[in-house]
Every structure is written in C-alpha cells, then in structure tokens.
Amino acid sequence: MFAEFLQYLLSGITIGAIYALAGLGFSIIYNASHVINFAQGEFIMIGGMSAATLTAAGVPLPLAMLFGLAAAMLGGVLIAKFTIERARNASVVTLIIITIGASIFLRGLAEVVWGKEFHRLAAFSGDDPIAVMGAAVLPQSLWVLGVALVLIAATGFFFNRTLAGKAMLATSHNRLAAQLVGINVRGVVLVAFALSAALGAVGGAVVAPITFSYTEMGIMLGLKGFTAAVLGGLGNGAGAVVGGLLVGIAEALGAGYISSAYKDAIAFVIILLVLMFLPNGLFGKRGTERV
C-alpha cells in the first residue's frame, strides 16, 4: 500500500520538477514582459532532442547538452527580438498569439531537422533502480531532481541576491522607474527569454531518458508548466515551483489510482479549477519579492 503510494509520489515529484522549471520559465518571461510565452515547451523539446540526437551521433553528453542549451537560448532571444520587440505596441493578446506561432514554427523546424520519430537518450548513470522503502527509484529521477534543485536555487539567488536580478524584478514592478534608473528594459526582456530557454533546455535534456524525445514533446510539458505557473500565481517564481510539484504529484496519483488514461486531463482540471476559484493562484500574483 504505502510502497505503491511512495512509488507514485516519487514519479510525480520527478516529472513535477520539470513542470516546475517550465513554470519558472513562464513566470520569468511574464514578469519581464507580461507575455505568456507558449513556446516554453519547445525550449524543453530543443534541449531533449539535441541531447538525444547528438549523443546518438557520438557527441559527448555534456557537449550535446551545451549545444541544446545554446540552441534554445538562441531561439528564445530570436523570438523576443524579432517578434515581441517588433510588435512592441501590440496588445498582450497579440504577443501571446505570436508566441504560439513561434512554438508551431519551432516544432516544424525541429521536424525538418530531426524527423518525427522518437529518440532515446541513455540514462546518465545506468538503469538499475534504487530501492527506497519498498519503492523503486530510477537513478535518472535523482538526476532530474538534483539538476532541477540546482537550477531553481540558482534562479532564486539571481533574482533575490544579485543587482542584475533585482533590476529585472524592478522592471516588472515599475517599468518607467526602471528606465529612469538606467535599466535597459528591452535588454531585460531578451535576458528573460534566454534565461527561461536555458531552464527549459536543461530540464528537457535530463528528463529525456525518462520520457523519450520527439518534436511534439514540448506541447504537453509546456501546458503543464503553464498550469504550474497559474497554480502558483503567474509571475510568482516560488509559486511556480510549488505549483509544478503539485501538478506532477496530482497527475501521478491520478494515473496510479484512477487510470493512466486521465493523466493529461488532470492538469486541465487543475487549470480550470484555479481559473474559476483561485484566479490569483495559491500564492497571489507577483505579490512577493520573490521571482
């Protein structure tokens, strides 16, 4: 009984960590530009696909991950530079639609480069499960959790402890005042996209051995990251992290105890409930000094 519950919980936390990274990406971009970037999932896909296909071609894993990171960051900066910035006077809704367009474009491009097949990436430290109180944990789950933890801590440190991070937060609190203290607010948007792309790409590479990689893997991961961000309060980074873990756990428990057929539906039920009953999310919108 308990072992089964623990098993679901652990797999929920593992995938939830990826949702958390995606949710954090949504929040960072939302804070910098008030845009909800629906290409967030494609950053994850680029990270996963680059790692899987490049290692298959003989490139060492760290290099393959670095390439995926660079490609996703480049994609993010290009989206910000050539669409969001060009359409600066457009409404937020228009900008959101632009990001949806960008996500479709990135998926199409990925299909041209990598094809439609599933790609497998070997687990970083083997596939021998580790027994934890009757449940089995894949070593790759520990990689996912460890890497996510480091990235989340580094992001928190950046926004709460460094002047550059505080300047980005300041821009989200008051754009005019940010300009008046000399912050390049357009630069902030570019950095936000690059940072969110980096979080997504690394997340995609570490989770690839568990989920497989394919060009459409970003759709669901992105939507669940969005659910995480909304659940935690859009623009609240710490909230997005908690939201990601909650969505992952709810999904794993639902799949385990009800039916795995409903796995993806659970995130949508959560998002509907939040929008109806908790429009500011669990922790409020941009209320705190956190990311």
């Binding site: 505080k166 609190h173 203290v181 000399g182 941009r286």
Partner: protein, 233 residues
Amino acid sequence: MLLEVRGLNSHYGRIHALKSVDLSVGEGELVALVGANGAGKTTLLRTLSGVQPATGGTIRFEGVDITGMPAHRRVAEGILQVPEGRQLFGPQSVEDNLRLGAYRRGGDPDADLERMYALFPVLKDKRRQPAGTLSGGQQQMVAIARALMARPRLLLLDEPSMGLAPLLVGEIFNAVQSLKRRGTTIFLVEQNAYAALAIADRGYVLETGEITLHDAGSALLANERVKQAYLGL
C-alpha cells in the same frame, strides 16, 4: 551650458504637448519650471530623460546632441529624473531601491548609501521595509535618494512636494536647497510656484506647452502676471 534645449516639440498622438520649447540650465544652477496643471511640465521632463520621444528640436547635454539617445544611456550620462508620484519599486526594500539607483554607475555604492541615510536619517531605520509601505513623504525621500545614488550631473525633480503635508514640504525643499549648496545642478518642476521660485536662480513659466516667461527667480516672484496666475496674490 550643461543643458541646452532648442525648439523642442513633443506629441501624444495628435495632442501637441510641447511647442518649440527653448531653455537652458547651467552647471550648478537651480532652475525652476512653473505652470498650471496640464501645461506640459511632466512631458518636458520625460522628453529630457528620454522616456518620451521628441517630435522636433534638439536637446544638448554638455554640448552633445542626445535627442535620440535611449533613456538608459542618458542615465549613464548623468541625467536623472525623479518622476511625479515617486514611482518606487514598491515590493522591493528601501535599500534595494537605493542600490538600483546606482545600477548604471557600477562600483561599490555602500559609501553613497551612507550619504543618503545621512541626508534622510529616517530611511536608515526603514531600509529593510518594502518601499511601498512607507508614508508619502518617506517615499519621496526614497525617490530623491534613489536618483542621487547615480551621482547625477543634472537632477530633474517633478513636483517633489505634491501630496505632502506642509511640514514635509518644508523638509523636501530644505533637502533640495542643501543639494544645490553642494553643487548639484537641479531642474525643479513645481506647482508650488512660490516655494520653487524662492530658492531658484532662474525660472521659466510654461503655459499650454509654450514657455511664456523667463527670468531670475526673484524677478518672477515680483512679476505681476506670475503673481496673479501662480502665486494667488
């Protein structure tokens, strides 16, 4: 002249908010700009700091044409605007607000922080509080101190006394005067025309986007038209 403005125009869509404005501010001067609500005072300051585009004319700072320079680079040149209504980073601490004031300057701002706490001692006790929780007068102090953290060559003040109790108005004007004594060049926009002209070296009167009068501060205080229109005498 430190700042020289020639034929400056600015629009909001079809509203012509600044109509060929000429003015200058010399090194170390305190120059006041007075005018009724809606005259275009804020627009003028926003155009000088670069957050509002000029639609004609030139702005020269230290002889260099900065008319098309983006706002963040003007800050690096030393032009700092304290905006109307304070515009603090509300959820961030008072100290973070001040440190962000030194964002462009780089280097270690700790010594400047201490200078700000000496200028406005009440801020030192509140330095860990979110800036948005302070009283109006204290917020105005944060707004001024934040700009001073950049060590401005030209300080643009937009109605620093607005909405403050009379006692605090005096305190803010005292701070402005002491900044001037220490050599800061100040362009002061005020609806409180009497207090502004009393401490200013020179003054300009702005009416519906046009400069209509320009003279020494004391001369404007004695001017019949100014007395009638702005001093309520």
